[in-house]
Every structure is written in structure tokens, then in C-alpha cells.
Symmetry: C2
Subunit: 162 residues, 2 copies
């Protein structure tokens, strides 16, 4: 079955994102547990709740497009999470582990920023404005999470790990 | 061997990035070949030359830190490139393939933006200013490449693929 237009590509991208978000909900509790800084641990827990809301938004986008909300294995996120797990299994000073956890989390955020940004542009292009708005809401959350992680790293975690 | 401080973590991150950049130099020619838009094809070719310069900067950063420029398999980039290859093997209209290629390339750029951003902050934190400057130069290039891809998608490629 050939992919003939941007709508089909958008649906593929949303299926990839649905898989990515589900993988993230499984990884975040492990990252929260490995964090020693209290704010970082809380941040991961809050992001878990947020991610569940993002999954609901994706399901609503599928509904708008008249398609089943079916995930398609996101191999890129599998790689990102495998890398995060490699770090978790390393023998690290707790303060250094916090810096490594933030680095992994920001890589995950950036995957989502790229992916939601693209999906939003495609939805706009094909006139699916309600879908574009849903994707923009999540994109804003991911951008804020990324900035929050940068601030926590630069104000505290990196200094402690140095 | 425990990872005790940010300098050790920085060296790990640079080894991961060296692997990532080398993987990208292998993927870009295939992406250029699959592009049907001439500007996109040229963009991939220019980015290949740029990536080779980024590898040289990483080697200089290792030199500054007194460490061997040894790559360590970046499994996250393996996943990102595996996903790009999945798209390349799909049966797609050429205009839709161009949109998919840009999406894959922006995911790769965002991995690098996150990774160089983190490494630069770590280098600054430990007072390795020359290393931080090298990483900032590459970070600026990656950000510009990402913006260029967004412009090409939004001004032309997405409309053609719709």
C-alpha cells in the first residue's frame, strides 16, 4: 500500500508518537526512582501524569481523522530509552546520575519536539485545524518540560555533579 | 569503574556524539539519493560536508581534554537511523517521501541539539571553555540546519505532498 499523501504520512507519524508516549510512561517511573534530587524526582512524576494527558490528546486526534488509535512500534524511542537504561545500569555517583538522567530526558523531549512540530505542520497543511491545535498543546508542554530540565541542570544539578 | 564526576560524563557524551556523527555521515548519502526536490538533495549533501567538520571539532575537544577520540556506539542514533530507513523502504509518492525525509532529518537534528546543548553546559560547568566553544559552534550549525529544514518543508515540500 503506497503512501500517497500527507494525511497518510500524518497518521503514520501519530501512530509512531502513540508508541513513543506509551514507551515513555513505562520508562519514567524508573527514572524517577533513580533520581536523588527531590525536584528532579517530582519533575519526572509530574511529567508522567502529563504524558498520560498527551496520550488522550493523540487519541482525540485519531478520532478527528476518523482512524483507529493504533500504535506502531517507534524504534527511535526504543533506541533513546535503551540509551537511558544503559546509563541507569552504570555505576555512578548519585549527583552525576542526576545529570545523566536530565541528559537522557532532554533527548527524549527533543525527539517529541521534532515529531510533534512536524505533525502539527502537516495537520495545518491539510486543513485539519483541530488536530493541529491538539498537537500544538502537547508541543508547548514538551518545550516547557525541556526548558525546566535545562534550568534545573544549570542552576543546581550540574554544579553538584562537577 | 564508577563515573564520579561531570568530566567523566562529558567524555562519555562526546564518545556517544562521535558515534552519532559517524552514523550520520553514512546515512546522509542515502537520504540525498532518495530526495526528489533538488534543494533538499543539495541540503543533505551540504550537511554531509558540515558533519565531517563537526567530527573534526569533536576530535579537537578530545584533544583539549587529553583523551583519545574513541567512539562509543550511540544506540539512540541507531534507532533514529533505523526509523529513517524504514521510511526509505516504504512505497511512497516522491513528494511525500521528501516530507518524510525532512521529518527524519529533523529528529536527527534534535537529538544532536539536545546532546550538544548538554555537553556544552557540562564543559562550561567544569571550566573547559575551549571545549564549550567548539560544542557551541556545532550546536549553532545544527540549530540552523533544523530551521532550514522547517522553512523548506513549510514553504514548499508539505504543500506539494498534501
Amino acid at each position: 500500500m503506497a503512501v500517497r499523501d500527507l494525511e497518510q504520512l500524518l497518521i503514520e507519524q501519530l501512530r509512531d508518537l502513540l508508541s513513543a508516549e506509551k514507551q515513555i510512561t513505562k520508562a519514567l517511573p524508573r527514572m524517577a526512582k533513580a533520581a536523588s534530587d527531590e525536584r528532579l524526582r517530582q519533575g519526572f512524576e509530574e511529567h508522567l501524569a502529563q504524558t498520560e494527558g498527551q496520550i488522550v490528546r493523540l487519541e482525540r486526534a485519531f478520532e478527528q481523522l476518523g482512524k483507529a488509535a493504533r500504535a506502531k512500534a517507534c524504534v527511535a524511542m526504543e533506541g533513546l530509552i535503551a540509551e537511558a537504561k544503559e546509563h541507569l545500569e552504570e555505576d555512578m555517583e548519585p549527583s552525576v546520575m542526576d545529570a545523566a538522567l536530565i541528559a537522557s530526558a532532554q533527548k527524549v523531549e527533543h525527539y517529541e519536539i521534532a515529531s510533534y512540530g512536524t505533525a502539527r505542520a502537516w495537520a495545518e497543511q491539510i486543513g485539519q485545524d483541530a488536530v493541529a491545535r491538539l498537537l500544538q498543546e502537547t508541543l508547548d508542554e514538551e518545550t516547557q518540560t525541556d526548558e525546566k530540565l535545562s534550568r534545573l541542570a544549570e542552576s543546581l544539578v550540574n554544579r553538584r555533579a562537577a
